[in-house]
Symmetry: C2
Subunit: 355 residues, 2 copies
Amino acid sequence: MKKTIAVLPGDGIGPEVTDAAVKVLQSIAMRYGHTFHLKHAVIGGEAVDQFDNPLPQQTIEVCEASDAILLGAVGGTKWDNNPAHLRPEKGLLNIRKHFDLFANIRPVKAIPALLASSPLKEEVAKDVDMVIVRELTSGLYFGEPKRRSEKSAVDTLVYTREEIERIVNQAFEIARTRRGKVTSVDKANVLETSKLWREVVEERKAAYPDIEVEHMLVDSAAMKLITDPRTFDVVVTENMFGDILSDEASVITGSLGMLPSASVRSDGFGLYEPVHGSAPDIAGQNKANPSAAILSAAMMLKHSFGLHSEAAAIEQAVMGVLEDGYCTGDLAGSGKRVVSTEQYVTKVIEELERE
Amino acid sequence: MKKTIAVLPGDGIGPEVTDAAVKVLQSIAMRYGHTFHLKHAVIGGEAVDQFDNPLPQQTIEVCEASDAILLGAVGGTKWDNNPAHLRPEKGLLNIRKHFDLFANIRPVKAIPALLASSPLKEEVAKDVDMVIVRELTSGLYFGEPKRRSEKSAVDTLVYTREEIERIVNQAFEIARTRRGKVTSVDKANVLETSKLWREVVEERKAAYPDIEVEHMLVDSAAMKLITDPRTFDVVVTENMFGDILSDEASVITGSLGMLPSASVRSDGFGLYEPVHGSAPDIAGQNKANPSAAILSAAMMLKHSFGLHSEAAAIEQAVMGVLEDGYCTGDLAGSGKRVVSTEQYVTKVIEELERE
Ligand SMILES: CC(C)[C@H](C(=O)O)[C@@H](O)C(=O)O
Ligand SMILES: CC(C)[C@H](C(=O)O)[C@@H](O)C(=O)O
């Protein structure tokens, strides 16, 4: 298989972790006889510095000419006081919108070897295995009017039926490949958009008689994620709720540095990036955990290219390294051997070659 | 002191827990020489059943003629399919708006005797002591337009500078009586209302040079509440974020059944209610935990009536009962003696009389 991948390293530890993921992709290409053309481009703070634009036109063109996008991370205190259109995050918001990447998919799965780093009791966090499906290109993030004056400010939460339908369908499809349960999160006792959301979920349910559907208010969901996280299989929700709940969920298993994400549209094109941020405090020190970026590359292989065995091989290799007791500094603990980013990648590639 | 208190028991376990709180108030009145006139009125599902209105005019009149409101809980599956204006929660939203109760105050404090019921590791949850201050009468809950058609729906997130100023002031004032730190939570990298919010916090800061101020994005806050809850002293945020984060925070210490809340305006008038819901599944069984309602009554004494020693006496009595090992079924565990709601109240009153 021949594929072109746009690689956008971004800021902070972004370059280190995408480098790691690229090495793993190259090893996979060699082993399975694929060709991955990698085209690097800038985004975020780096792009602001070079082009006064967090998502320059040439980056868009590189992505348009690619089959998928691998992103590191954007942001850093350096750009925190920039005006909105010159902030790194704007690059992320723009690329999502430009490519209509409406479905943000974030798996959260407990890794037995890492439960000790969870803030939750082990008996609460163990066996957690959920996927959060967040609508990513509508809602409060993009609704108009969105403006402020001296005396007041307004943002608009708007959803069309079609926007809800496509994300809900996505969640149902994912549930079919898993335990067959969808929890739709809304605030239907207060919001009109949530009432429409709930109605659409009820309608779409008919097409998925094999799937169990549950509605949950966002405030209850924020509690249940902590008190009873194993209750969730697939969680589907709108953009702002998804931002909050997916970050909340990311800390349950104690392995934030391990979590990948995909932001996709219906034709399989997608952007893949670690859930963690750019961590400027440890950037350039060869100590970032590259697992989330590596596992994001695995999601790309599976979701955008249909390469299921290759993706599974990567996941297995990462788990193998962890089970052997190796980890980066973020997961240090008794019985663990802390290695550098580069050493960790080497271990993952060795595992891959052994499989 | 002579005060009139409107008592709105509401639905589910609401009547049992307000009964308990009323008994404690009566004991305080006797012991300290106060007179509390208690006027009962209906709200929520009960009011829908009796008057086709979750907040009937006669209830508003009772509250207007009172110095404070004690509320139990509203809601139940029985009314879940009612149209919006006949749903129990609408009574709550209406009473907040009618009385301009713009500041929702929720203390979350770890109780050593109960940490075993926390989903968090004890070393994470212990010594947590924060107050969440949520704006309660504006934002997405009330902004216009708020409507839906066949094809789409819209809600509006709008804030005026004054609305932000008064809730931020409230948070600063509360911080002064505590550890002197305010964490303001927003989504200033995406929302215009959050940018205004952040600007107002920065302005108000000048009037409170003794207070340390920190800004945090809502998604980070959702993580930090779980990974590092001790970092928070006073958290101030807008209505929808506050709904989500305060429910998330309520589970940290494992003692949801213990958490009181106040919804107040600037002149001291307020509504006091447990954080927990109406729990229809255990209603009428004399097993609900009345602590949250009792501690809400204590908040009323302190906040609306300035009766600080009386409030402290109640808090101490509840802690005394727990330390003696008594608790209701929700907190059952090794070394605990489970008692009924009524027995628990008797114990609290005995403690009060012993103090
Ligand atoms: C950087 C920010 C705009 C972004 C968001 O809110 O969507 C981030 O928090 C995320 O979840 O990817
Ligand atoms: C019942 C509901 C409308 C209410 C809210 O969202 O404000 C509740 O969740 C609360 O937090 O008091």
